[in-house]
Symmetry: C2
């Protein structure tokens, strides 16, 4: 009976647990829920207006991601990400981004190369336009395209997870001077390695890019 009163303005073709997972990730990573904090199921149900079943499914996924810890009969507790964790994560991400670009340069198909080129051209365009919002999205697409070109399913998934972890980290820092053009240069160096088909060059360019990103985000 209650089904008939669901909010039909929000057309969602995903189960509640999926969209809920994204919201909980966001609210943990943005610090709305603090590390150590107890996540009481009923409270969350009220807050997100969902029932316990999808909520618990989302909590189990957060647990698999390591953002939440579950203690038997006592509930879920926020783990979250410490500064140390972000530092560690950047180092781990660097290792994989470098591997990804090496593999990608060796394995990229013509189609994938065209797509990467297209993305890079959009990057140049939106950098000129100084459209930071669009750049956030295209930046993600650029890296994602490299992951795909690596033709390594597991690497691709893992790096996507890392992107998710990092996307809420100090997003306002992007407004600093020369942010866009600096990042564009770094991406250009990576893209050039693809046109040169030089994996070593790509690895170096990516290492520089991630190191700079780490400095930008972690100070």
């Amino acid at each position: 009976m209650l089904y008939k009163f669901t909010d039909e303005t929000e057309i969602s073709n995903a189960p509640i647990s999926t969209s809920l997972l994204a919201k909980l990730q966001r609210d943990i990573l943005t610090g709305k829920f603090k590390p150590g904090q107890k996540l009481t199921e009923q409270d969350l149900c009220r807050e997100y207006e969902v029932s316990r079943t999808p909520l618990r499914e989302a909590l189990r996924q957060l647990e698999a991601d390591g953002l939440v810890e579950n203690i038997l009969n006592r509930g879920s507790f926020v783990i979250g990400m410490s500064d140390q964790d972000y530092n560690d994560l950047f180092e781990m991400r660097k290792a994989y981004e470098v591997q990804a670009v090496e593999w990608a340069i060796d394995r990229i198909t013509e189609e994938e190369m065209e797509r990467l080129e297209e993305i890079f051209e959009f990057m140049e365009f939106y950098t000129m336009r100084n459209d930071i919002e669009k750049m956030q999205v295209i930046n993600s697409s650029f890296h994602q395209a490299i992951y795909e070109a690596s033709h390594n399913r597991i690497l691709q998934k893992q790096l996507s997870v890392y992107q998710n972890y990092l996307k809420y980290k100090d997003p306002e820092r992007v407004y600093e001077d020369n942010y866009l053009s600096t990042v564009l240069q770094e991406h250009r160096a990576i893209f050039k390695a693809f046109t040169d088909k030089n994996a070593r060059e790509g690895a170096l360019a990516m290492e520089i890019h991630i190191n700079r990103a780490k400095e930008r985000h972690c100070r």
Copy 2:
């Protein structure tokens, strides 16, 4: 003193979804469920004698691990691990094991060093005894001790996940000639790098170890 090296995958006092997750991981990775296969909830409920709630929670965790894919209103399908996936995973694991040993050698505490030494001595003992079963467990403990000594929470978790993925991969191959003494030599080289406090040496030894392990398992 063997209680220190017991296989902790079987936790008696844990929610059903946790032990069920381990069983499902095993049954997917050992090929009982084939890639592409539909996992019907009710069938699984009957087979594992659980209700749908903990089953679905386990399925959501498998989904987060990438072993299962969920399609809205159509159910869960096995992804599993292809030969290519195992190859990729070994390369990814290598990158992280090398990082882990580098960090661990720089950061290991005296206590952790004593523990590592103890584990290594048990390794020597059970290699002499040719006790393959015990060695499997201690081998895992040795690597786990290094993960802990790296003092990187995220790395530790990720490498544990990889160990889980790999532990069902061709376990019978360990019965080949000189398996135990070969592995002991590789581990000795890694352990020596710890006593030498030489991270570079440790990285090289670990790289060799993982490469050999990959050859042994993937051929």
